[in-house]
């Protein structure tokens, strides 16, 4: 069992967390967003091999946060609360 660091609760079991997608995938704004931009926002993913910036939710406390993680070694590199409206 791997422990993930919730910025609010500290290290907790991986089963308490849920993956929420790429960090920094900002929702397009406005009435005339081109189709490709919407498709990119909704579906296209970086899916990096190695270091990844991801949104996660700690389901037991309900907080969303950004975790930097290596997708090969599964090592957690950093974990930070969401700042402002969008994740960096």
């Amino acid at each position: 069992m791997q422990l993930f660091p919730c910025p609010f609760c500290g290290p907790r079991d991986e089963t308490e967390f849920h993956y929420g997608g790429d960090a920094g995938n900002a929702r397009p704004d406005g009435a005339d967003v081109p189709i490709d931009r919407w498709a990119g926002y909704l579906y296209l993913r970086g899916n990096p091999k190695g270091s990844a910036h991801e949104i996660w939710v700690h389901m037991t406390c309900g907080e969303f946060f950004v975790m930097e993680r290596d997708t090969v070694t599964h090592k957690v590199l950093s974990s930070a609360a969401l700042g402002g409206e969008h994740a960096a």
Binding site: L42, E54, V72
Partner: protein, 417 residues
């Protein structure tokens, strides 16, 4: 020299002391240029090369594999072959694969050990039985064999299932596909490799793609750990690593990579002669010809490129297995492993041109690529040979994520990936 496999050649070689067998496929040095390059020496890539040579007469083809052929998901799956899907587009695709599998051993002159032992998807409630009836009706309308099983029917094909009154996942019936079954996964890779090599295809192992050669906005070849290799038609069939290659080519895909685990028990005498899937536990199980109980379940919950898998998912799978078959509690697990699968939002594959001209995609099979190998190869070969879709591959183009015409098999047939 014995090239063709048959009972007669086996007998003759027996008399000759097994000295005349020829190497199954050649291992040539890469040439500087080919008519077509296929990236990925798994089942889909090798099948693509074979059908390019056989169906389209294009044999100046290289298959480039970063490790050894069949060493990725082709060698890591649970070997189930089936076509019990919901939407007509999926039925065309997986139906083609299933039909080709039925003739594959003769076609390749290589025994892929297809065993059509049938598969039952269990239903654990009256609501699931209603959905099961809907699925069976859809399959029958689409011309795929399917039967709605009663609890007695399930008991007949899987008598060791937990039918006790206090079972957590009681059986209300099931969806039966009699033509489903298993095939020897390594033999599929080796059979396609041997047949493709005999038609002139170069199979080049330990050859990793480091970059694409892009000239005038088009893909004109690849840079590899064994030098630059040029071609004007390049297909990629690299499963969980599709996003990594896409990044080198300058585009993104609607894919997340996850580990999918499987495990086998020690070999035991024949006890389960069909494939059983329980949507309640998310576990599917069969018995290999060697006697091992082959166990698979759902995806790991964490996006990953690590080919090993995490413990919580394995625990869930084993707990589910023991709910289904308490008798297996006595078994020892012999091996556990994971493959990296390319998961797409609508659980359907991506087949078609990529955003980079001359580069074509065969990816997004998620947890179900093995059963589709003959179709994936046929369709990518057709794209590479003609540059155009046919009616079967067209619905699976990447453009469906912009047009919104998704083929949502997660909702349609209830598959988890």
């Amino acid at each position: 020299m014995t090239r063709r496999y048959s009972a007669l050649s086996l007998f003759k070689e027996g008399l000759a002391g097994q000295t005349g067998w020829k190497q199954a496929w050649r291992s040539p040095e890469p040439k500087p240029a080919y008519d077509a390059i296929v990236i990925g020496g798994g089942g889909h890539g090798l099948a693509t090369a074979y059908y390019l040579a056989r169906n389209h007469g294009i044999a100046r083809v290289a298959v480039l594999e970063k490790g050894w052929i069949g060493g990725g998901n082709t060698g890591r799956n649970t070997t189930v072959v089936r076509s019990n899907y919901y939407y007509p587009e999926s039925v065309e695709l997986y139906g083609l694969a299933h039909r080709l599998y039925e003739g594959l051993s003769k076609d390749l002159n290589y025994n892929v050990m297809l065993s059509q032992r049938g598969m039952v998807n269990l239903c654990h409630s009256t609501a699931e039985m209603e959905v099961g009836a809907r699925t069976v009706n859809a399959m029958q309308i689409n011309g795929i064999d399917a039967e709605l099983f009663s609890p007695e029917d399930v008991r007949r094909v899987a008598p060791i299932y937990n039918f006790s009154p206090d079972a957590r996942f009681p059986v209300f019936g099931g969806i039966w596909q009699g033509r489903a079954g298993t095939a020897r996964h390594d033999a599929v890779a080796w059979g396609y490799a041997r047949a493709a090599s005999r038609l002139g295809v170069d199979i080049i192992q330990n050859c990793e793609i480091t970059d694409f050669v892009i000239e005038g906005g088009r893909c004109r070849g690849v840079q590899t750990t064994r030098g630059t290799i040029r071609a004007d038609r390049i297909g990629m069939a690299v499963a969980g690593h599709s996003s990594v290659l896409a990044a080198k080519a300058g585009f993104r895909l609607p894919i997340n990579s996850y580990a999918l685990q499987a495990c086998v028990s020690e070999p035991v005498k024949p006890i389960l002669d069909t494939v059983v899937l329980s949507p309640g536990t998310g576990v599917y199980v069969s018995q290999s010809d060697k006697g091992e109980i082959v166990i698979g379940g759902g995806l790991d919950r964490i996006p990953s490129y690590a080919q090993r898998g995490n413990l919580p998912t394995l625990e869930t799978v084993i707990a589910g297995l023991l709910e289904m078959f308490p008798i297996f509690g006595q078994l020892k697990l012999m091996r556990q492993w994971a493959g990296i699968v390319d998961v797409v939002p609508d659980s359907s594959p991506i087949i078609g041109p990529s955003p980079l001209p001359n580069l074509f995609l065969n990816c997004g099979w998620g947890t179900g690529g093995f059963k589709a190998i003959p179709a994936g190869g046929t369709l990518l070969a057709n794209l590479l040979a003609t540059g155009k879709h046919n009616d079967i591959s067209r619905p699976f183009d990447l453009d469906r994520f912009a047009t919104g015409r998704l083929i949502d098999e997660a909702a349609g047939s209830g598959i988890a990936h």
